[in-house]
């Protein structure tokens, strides 16, 4: 699936930036992390991660409206350790709320890269899968997983919060099983992802990896 289309030098070029700006951004490549050497520790860690899912409060599309009821009395995702977090540095789950326009995609990438691993992506709705009703739009991406690794899809247009809750529980299961390693996948196929991203984002004026 992943074809290397960019060079794999150790440093990024940050070529979208001017010379002056290049010294203001880090140009280090992201690195993959190994599981803890002790299996029990890794399992325990995964259990903790699964039970403390902090969702980045970034409504990226129409599906963002489905995230709000999660915290209400009816759905109460707090029960599962889900909480909203306004800064990507502290979040562990990124819910792509439906369609992702090119302009938003740029911000999604930036925010995703600023999250600290392990981090998980839930793609909500049909649009991230194949464009959905926006399949022929001039500014909506059709296959979201070309640009960021997705750990879980919740399809539908629009999936109701119940489905979202079910999806979150599904994600927890996957995390506990140690199957969610999207962050590493992204790092390992970094060049492929980058070339895809740059193919659609034409004014790339941010660093190649947003630390």
């Amino acid at each position: 699936m992943f074809k290397k289309t960019l060079n794999t030098e150790d440093t990024l070029k940050n070529s979208g930036l001017t010379d002056e700006e290049q010294q203001l951004f880090s140009n280090a490549r992201p690195q993959a992390y190994e599981p803890y050497p002790i299996k029990a520790v890794e399992d325990f860690a995964n259990w903790a991660r699964a039970n403390s899912l902090w969702i980045l409060a970034f409504g990226t599309g129409c599906g963002a409206i489905e995230l709000r009821p999660l915290m209400t009395a009816r759905f109460d995702a707090n029960r599962f350790g889900v909480a909203g977090r306004p800064t990507p540095r502290q979040s562990s789950v990124f819910v792509i709320g439906g369609y992702a326009s090119v302009k938003t995609l740029k911000r999604i990438i930036r925010s995703y890269e600023q999250m600290q691993g392990p981090k998980f992506v839930i793609a909500l709705g049909i649009c991230p899968v194949n464009g959905g009703m926006y399949f022929d739009s001039y500014n909506t991406v059709n296959q979201f997983d070309q640009y960021l690794p997705v750990d879980l899809y919740i399809t539908g247009c629009m999936p109701r919060p119940e489905v979202l809750v079910a999806g979150i529980m599904e994600l927890q299961k996957k995390i506990k099983a140690g199957e969610c390693n999207g962050a590493n996948l992204y790092v390992e196929n970094f060049d492929w992802y980058k070339s895809n991203q740059k193919k659609v984002i034409k004014n790339w004026d941010m660093p190649d990896y947003n630390w």
Binding site: L24, F25, S26, A28, Y36, R107, R110, P207
Partner: protein, 1082 residues
């Protein structure tokens, strides 16, 4: 042979002066025709011989010869005219003749063009000599006329329309005055039948009734008019303005001296008018100095100063005669007179050779060090700063007046002196003002030959010499008080050496000198000697970081530091005051050496117009320096009066007897406290402080704040010790002092919060922190004083570090506005660390040294029951966090500017003193007992020790404090989580990122300037409570200045330049005097 000696002896009698003047005078036109140069030679020889005659005779009198009465025409008085040559006459004649000689030298280029000019000059000098020496009323009239005519003729030599008009007004006015005088003489003669002054004095009971009244009034008016009293003096000012410098100086000092002496002679028959004379003198002194404020014409300004000084002399002589204190005449009148004579003459000559009409154009001498130094010396002398004669005279005068309880006059004299200092030093400020390159009208450089400066230089030397002689009479430790000046002079001699060499020599000299000066001190003085001298040298070491030449900096710095040492050593209030004034003067000059990037109007408007400053980037130390001097002088005058009050009660100058002031204690304490609080920058009187700290050189600001400000604290503790504890004054002044202190702390902190300029921020912070110390001193308890001293030491430590690190930051970034910096921690980690530690020490957060001070302070406040002050102290120390964080955040943290990415760490020379101070902070923090024991020992003689130690813990009535244990616990609490974090960091991949790698709401930062939150950092705080810190004090003082200037302007309405009006004023002046003295009742 014997006959020759006799002849010489006879010739060298005072009468020789006249013979010489007349003889040579009429010889000169002859010689002039033959050879011009010989005429000049003859002229100078004559003047020189006059000096020799006066000098030899004066020496004889000082050595015990009797007063010489010279009879003329071989008949005894009263039937013939006689002259007297006593001590006063001799001194006066010698001084006048010296000035005349120097003036002739100065004025030679013009004088030598006419034989008549040489002749007139000699006649004029002779006339003055005559006025001084004659004892005959009518003869006196003749000499006055001779002088007037000669003066008029000399003025007329300048053939300008204005000059001629002025000359005409002069002759008109003096004629009217002479007419008055002559009428008076006639009436006196009518009543007493004699013209001899001694006879008249002996028979003054004959001068009675309306005729006697009118007679004396006429004589008085005639003489007073010649002294140019306000408002009948417009003609005199015109003369000063238009007459050439050589002549103006002679009129100002010579003629006035003669007339003044004449007045002195006839004073014994003026008993009736003494009060009037005093008022006239005082009024003239005050008003002239007021008007001087508005003056920009150099010579007219000097004229006002002259008239003012003569007014002061008139006032003082009348008071002295009234008080029957003629024993003080030599020191007070002599001192004031000589001071005025030489300084004013020198200034007139300087004004003449520089030849800049408007004082604003004097910046053309800014590059002439010799002229600047001369100007500075003469102005300093004229204002009465040490070591010049005026200083001693002023001291004596104030002490005398205080002991007679004449505080009204003291106030008048000091206000007048302050006003005079304002316009004189404003002039100096203009002269010091280096023009910027953009300035449109750049005044041409003056070219002055060395020869031209010699007369002025000689007057300067004479002033020093006379001052030294005077100080011999003042019962002070000469070697002690002159030591700083000597050292400064010595350093000045090597000022041309390499900056490194001379600075090291200076440091060495000050160390040795300071050591010997302070080695046998004890108690509080010893403690302060560590701070002021040791600390001063340590902080001064940092001045080495600059590579530029810094002419004048090191001599002045050595004077400053050593005057601090003499301040500590002072045994008497006079020595203390001398050292205090010397300190003020040297620090003023040092401030003035500060940055001068652009010229600005050094008018004395106050205030930090930050918006404007930013806009024009005006950085200029001249205006703040002037304000600094004024506040220093005001502070010194308060201290002077305070000492005087104490002296009036105790009768001696010793500091240790301050406590015996009895009922005057409260007044003395209050006055002295106000004086010191001005120096510390207390609430309401602080406005000078931020500007001075901001504009002085960065390294000198460190010295100012960490060292020099402690002198004020020292003074406060000294007076609190002597006056507060021993005399057990009531609680009230101390309580007020406590409030002033805490308000200073609160408002200093609040003001600091809203500053954009880093130096202003630190300056306000310094002021605020000193506020706690003032309150600590005001507590008058052992714990209070220990806390005050502890905080003093701490203030020295953290302010030294802060100002030096700020100096480093400014050096590297070349910026002062904090929002233009940011992120410097990456470039200057050491400076950041030092600053951070200093700030923690300042804030009072445990475990560093600030906590101890705050803890003791709070406990002492609670002990005393000053709860409201304690609450405010809490609040202000919380507010302090705001500006402390702002300093660190906006300068060192946040976003670094692109142009700052390549900056280097501050120079090592700046870091070394900071490092030493940091080490001391840590030692004191971990084990404060070593410091507190020293402090406690110093304080114990004054207040009984109340400290309780339990192991390492200190116990107070309320609380307890175990510094080493706290240090250990906090270290443990800090290290444990650090280890935890390091352990977990091992399990992560930690990436070091750059400054723009921040969460920015999914966008990216564009420019560091936009991303750095720094400008108007506490806008919300300003919105909430900013209204309490609107610069009210500044507005108030500006209003005072504005009002004073308008008042001064309104006083000038009498001077319309019209001769008729002036004549009318003179007549009306007489009528006024007549009415005021009860003429109608007769």
């Amino acid at each position: 042979m014997v006959a020759t000696t006799d002849t010489i002896d006879i010739f060298l009698q005072p009468l020789g002066i006249y013979i010489l003047a007349l003889g040579v005078g009429f010889l000169i036109p002859l010689v002039y025709r033959v050879n011009r140069n010989s005429a000049i030679l003859v002229f100078f020889t004559a003047l020189l011989i006059m000096i020799v005659i006066a000098g030899l005779n004066l020496l004889a009198i000082i050595n015990g010869a009797s007063v010489m009465d010279i009879e003329t025409a071989g008949i005894k008085p009263p039937f013939s005219i006689n002259l007297r040559f006593g001590l006063f006459e001799g001194a006066c004649v010698l001084a006048v003749n010296t000035v005349a000689l120097l003036g002739a030298w100065h004025y030679l280029p013009r004088l030598k063009q006419h034989a008549a000019a040489l002749l007139l000059y000699l006649i004029l000098v002779m006339g003055i000599n005559g006025m001084v020496m004659t004892r005959d009323l009518f003869n006196l009239f003749i000499f006055i006329e001779i002088t007037s005519i000669a003066t008029y003729a000399l003025i007329g030599m300048e053939r300008t329309a204005k000059g001629l008009a002025a000359g005409f007004k002069y002759i008109m006015a003096t004629s009217i005055a002479s007419a008055f005088y002559l009428l008076g003489t006639i009436f006196i003669y009518y009543q007493t039948g004699t013209l001899n002054i001694d006879d008249i004095i002996a028979n003054q009971q004959l001068i009675i009734g309306p005729i006697g009244f009118i007679a004396t009034l006429f004589i008085l008016t005639g003489l007073l008019i010649e002294l140019k009293p306000y408002p009948a003096n417009g003609w005199g000012l015109d003369v000063y303005e238009t007459a050439p410098g050589g002549i103006a100086s002679l009129i100002s000092v010579g003629v006035s001296a003669g007339v003044f002496f004449a007045l002195y002679k006839v004073l014994p028959i003026m008993d009736l008018y003494l009060t009037s004379i005093a008022f006239i003198g005082g009024f003239t002194f005050l008003i002239s100095n007021f008007i001087g404020l508005k003056q920009e014409n150099t010579k007219r300004l000097l004229g006002y100063s002259s008239i003012g000084q003569m007014g002061l002399l008139t006032l003082v002589i009348a008071l002295l005669v009234q008080l029957d204190a003629s024993a003080h005449i030599p020191l007070i009148i002599g001192g004031l007179f000589i001071n005025h004579l030489f300084a004013k003459a020198g200034l007139f000559w300087l004004a003449a050779i520089v030849d800049r009409k408007n004082i604003k154009d004097w910046s053309s001498i800014a590059k002439h060090p010799s002229l600047l130094i001369l100007l500075c010396i003469l102005l300093t002398a004229l204002v009465g700063l040490p070591p010049f004669p005026g200083f001693w005279a002023k001291w004596e005068l104030v002490m005398l007046l205080a002991s007679e309880q004449l505080f009204g006059w003291i106030t008048l004299i000091l206000i007048g002196s302050l006003l005079e200092a304002v316009y004189l030093f404003r002039w100096f400020s203009y002269a010091r003002n280096v023009e910027s390159s953009e300035s449109v009208e750049k005044p041409a450089e003056v070219s002055v030959s060395f020869l031209q400066q010699i007369p002025i230089f000689i007057t300067g030397l004479l002033l020093f010499a006379i001052a030294y002689v005077m100080s011999r009479f003042m019962n002070v430790d000469n070697q002690l008080i002159y030591f700083p000046l000597m050292a400064g002079f010595a350093i000045w001699l090597i000022d041309r050496l390499n900056v490194r060499v001379k600075s090291l020599i200076m440091l060495l000299a000050v160390s040795i000198g300071g050591y010997f000066l302070t080695k046998d001190l004890e108690g509080i003085n010893k403690l302060f000697s560590y701070l002021l001298i040791g600390g001063g040298i340590l902080v001064s070491f940092a001045t080495l970081y600059r590579h530029d030449d810094r002419k004048g900096f090191y001599p002045l710095l050595s004077v400053l530091l050593l005057s601090l040492a003499t301040l500590l050593r002072a045994q008497t209030s006079l020595e203390f005051f001398f050292a205090w004034e010397l300190m003020a003067l040297s620090s003023y000059l040092l401030v003035m050496l500060g940055r001068n990037k652009q010229n600005c109007d050094p008018g004395i408007r106050l205030g930090n117009d930050q918006k404007n400053d930013q806009k024009y980037n005006q950085i200029n130390a001249i205006k703040p320096a002037l304000i600094y001097l004024l506040f220093s002088l005001a502070s010194a005058y308060f201290i002077l009066v305070g000492f005087a009050v104490s002296y009036s009660a105790t009768g001696n100058y010793f500091l240790f007897s301050l406590g015996d002031s009895g009922t005057s204690t409260t007044l003395a304490f209050s006055l002295l406290a106000i004086g010191f609080i001005i120096k510390i920058g207390g609430f309401g009187l602080h406005i000078w402080l931020p500007e001075v700290y901001a504009e002085a050189d960065d390294d000198f600001t460190a010295i100012l704040s960490s060292v020099v400000s402690k002198a004020g604290i020292f003074g406060l503790i000294i007076i609190a010790a002597h006056l507060g504890v021993r005399a057990d004054i009531g609680l009230n002044p101390a309580y007020v002092l406590g409030w002033i202190g805490i308000l200073t702390a609160t408002f200093g902190a609040l003001m600091a919060v809203f500053q954009e300029d880093i130096k202003r921020l630190v300056a306000y912070s310094s002021m605020g922190q000193l506020g706690y110390i003032v309150t600590g001193v005001a507590l008058m308890s052992h714990l209070g004083w220990v806390s005050a001293m502890y905080m003093t030491v701490n203030h020295f430590l953290f302010k030294g570090i802060l100002f030096l690190s700020v100096a480093g930051v400014i050096l590297r970034t070349n910026e002062r506005f904090m929002y233009k910096m940011g992120g410097l921690i990456k470039n200057m980690p050491v400076t950041f660390t030092f600053t951070m530690i200093a700030i923690i020490a300042m804030s009072g957060v445990p475990p560093l040294s600030g906590y101890g001070g705050k803890w003791m302070f709070f406990n002492a406040l609670m002990d005393k029951g000053w709860y409201w002050i304690a609450a405010l102290a809490f609040f202000s120390s919380a507010v302090a966090f705001l500006y402390m964080f702002r300093l660190l955040q906006t300068v060192f943290l946040g976003q670094r500017k692109l142009e700052h990415r390549k900056l280097r760490e501050a120079p090592v020379i700046l870091l070394i003193p900071q490092g030493i101070l940091i080490a001391i902070i840590f030692v004191i923090s971990a084990y404060p007992k070593i410091l507190i024991d020293v402090i406690s020992t110093a304080i114990d003689p004054w207040i009984s020790n109340t400290l309780v130690w339990k192991g390492t813990a200190m116990q107070a009535h309320y609380g307890y404090w175990d510094a080493p244990l706290i240090m250990a616990i906090i270290a443990g609490a800090w290290i444990a989580p650090l280890i935890l974090l390091l352990l977990f960091a091992k399990t992560m991949k930690v990436q070091k990122v750059e400054q723009f790698n921040i969460v920015y709401a999914a966008e990216r930062p564009r420019r560091p300037e936009e991303t750095h939150f720094a400008y108007n950092f506490y806008a919300h705080y300003d919105r909430a409570i900013g209204f309490v810190v609107r610069p009210r004090a500044t507005a108030f003082w500006n209003a005072v200045i504005e009002w004073t200037h308008s008042f001064a302007a309104s006083l000038r309405i009498f001077y319309n330049g019209n001769g008729q009006t002036y004549a009318l004023f003179i007549i009306m002046y007489f009528v006024g005097l007549f009415l005021v003295n009860g003429g109608l009742a007769l």
